[in-house]
């Protein structure tokens, strides 16, 4: 089981739930696809048209920013904890 922590506007899609679970996924891209099938529109918010993580979105796997790992191809395993957060921008 993968635990996914959501923030801000993503909770509009989950009836306010701040945490959801995904049974399994090979990588972040697969996890986002599963989230999107349960919560339509989630994929569009996290990934751009080229299926890359949006420029101003950060996805952490066990507290490591996926940009420092394999980005959307970062592998996932049971008990991983994922945080999806907006990048800090602005004053």
């Amino acid at each position: 089981m993968i635990r996914v922590h959501l923030t801000g506007q993503l909770r509009d899609l989950t009836d306010g739930a701040a945490q959801v679970e995904v049974d399994s996924a090979e990588d972040l891209k697969g996890m986002v696809a599963k989230l999107d099938s349960r919560f339509p529109g989630m994929g569009q918010r996290i990934m751009d048209d080229q299926e890359k993580i949006r420029q101003h979105v950060n996805v952490f796997v066990n507290s490591e920013n996926s940009r420092e790992l394999q980005k959307e191809k970062t592998k996932l395993k049971d008990n991983d904890v994922v945080h999806i957060l907006p990048a800090v921008s602005g004053g």
């Binding site: 506007q9 993503l10 339509p40 529109g41 569009q44 918010r45 996290i46 751009d48 048209d49 080229q50 299926e51 949006r54 101003h56 979105v57 907006p86 990048a87 921008s89």
Partner: protein, 362 residues
């Protein structure tokens, strides 16, 4: 048979959500019906009178853009099953949706969307699924297209009920393109349009068009506010005529046409691209009754000190007689005139920065 339309609907897209105002046709009192998509940037709201659907282009900030629609005037919204997206491998991603334009009267599900980076999308089911215009995406000159300061945006779409296969669009800073085969092929239509920032001042493309405006009942006549001038065409952009005449500046963003007098055209000049403020710090709408030329300043009721900036999509006209004119400012004021711009009344004073204003009959 359609019933009598007895309401005017004013849609205001802002940096912090969309606002819906209504009035009876006297337009003396406006009622704020609601504020939806709060906190989200709404570059454009459109009412599709064929289906009674409100459509909004929005940006979820960090989370990307989309086109949403409402059947209850903004109380509830629905996202599309297939949003406007560039195909995988194109290397492009929709950054912002600038324009939503309902199709012709006899094609009730058809809706167009103009986006940045510049491309046209079409839906045939009222906005549930969107398909990219491949001919524009793969246009042979695309690699040479340049953005304007607001991005490379497709902001104006002109359709023609008499020639249903014709689509005319404008992109900043690419210029005007026209298709005669429903978007299968595109041709530039920029004859006589001046540019200051290229060695060739009349290039085939590369014009920074800020906004087109037209009366749907006379679609061959189109008005343009561009970076370097104010123009009119009477032949669906085969030729453009410089109609700046006595305007205080050639620079501005919005453009609108009168609903009843086909040669009456409204613009809102700014000093120039060097300052982007109204001439002398006093905002005014200017109108011509001759399709451009002999411009008259319309500022009765507007503040003497008014450093208003009105963005390209933030001025519009309604369909009443006499025609109403409306504009929204980057500092959150919404103004309206019930008599062709001759007298101005404040409708709202403290909205978020206004990105777009559009008016419809209901």
């Amino acid at each position: 048979m359609a019933g009598r339309r007895n309401k005017v609907l004013l849609l205001v897209g802002t940096k912090k959500g969309g606002f819906v105002f209504t009035s009876d046709t006297s337009r003396k009192k406006w009622k704020l019906e609601g504020h939806s998509n709060q906190g989200k940037e709404i570059p454009r709201m459109t009412y599709d009178g064929r289906s009674g659907t409100l459509m909004a282009a929005l940006t979820y900030g960090h989370w990307g853009p989309n086109v949403v629609r409402s059947k209850d005037l903004g109380k509830t919204w629905k996202e599309p099953k297939t949003p406007p997206k560039f195909p995988k491998g194109s290397g492009l991603s929709v950054e912002r949706i600038w324009q939503i334009e309902p199709g012709l009267g006899d094609e009730p599900g058809v809706v167009y969307a103009g986006v940045a980076p510049a491309c046209l999308f079409r839906s045939e089911d009222g906005g549930e699924h969107w398909t990219i215009n491949e001919a524009m995406l793969n246009h042979k000159t695309r690699k040479k297209w340049q953005p304007g300061a607001g991005g490379m945006c497709l902001h104006s779409i002109v359709l023609d009920e008499r020639r249903p296969k014709r689509i005319l669009i404008a992109i900043s800073a690419v210029g005007v393109m026209r298709s005669e085969d429903e978007g299968e092929t595109w041709k530039f239509q920029n004859k006589n349009l001046f540019v200051d920032y290229q060695p060739n001042h009349y290039p085939e493309y590369g014009q920074c068009v800020h906004r087109l405006a037209h009366n749907p009942e006379a679609p061959d006549t189109i008005f343009m506010q561009s970076h370097f001038g104010v123009y009119r065409t009477d032949d669906a952009a085969e030729n453009w005529i410089d109609v700046r005449d006595n305007l205080p500046s050639r620079f501005g963003f919005p453009a609108a046409v009168d609903a009843n007098e086909r040669k009456r055209f409204y613009v809102a000049p700014l000093e120039g691209d060097f300052s982007r403020i109204p001439p002398g710090g006093h905002f005014a709408v200017w109108a011509s009754d001759k399709g451009g030329g002999d411009w008259v300043k319309l500022d009765r009721g507007l503040p003497e000190v008014s450093y208003y900036t009105v963005l390209r999509d933030a001025m519009t006209t309604d369909k009443e007689d006499p025609c109403g004119v409306y504009f929204g400012t980057e500092t959150g004021q919404l103004w309206g005139s019930r008599n062709q711009g001759n007298d101005w009344e404040r409708i709202s004073d403290a909205l978020p920065p206004v990105l777009s204003v559009s008016a419809y009959q209901m």
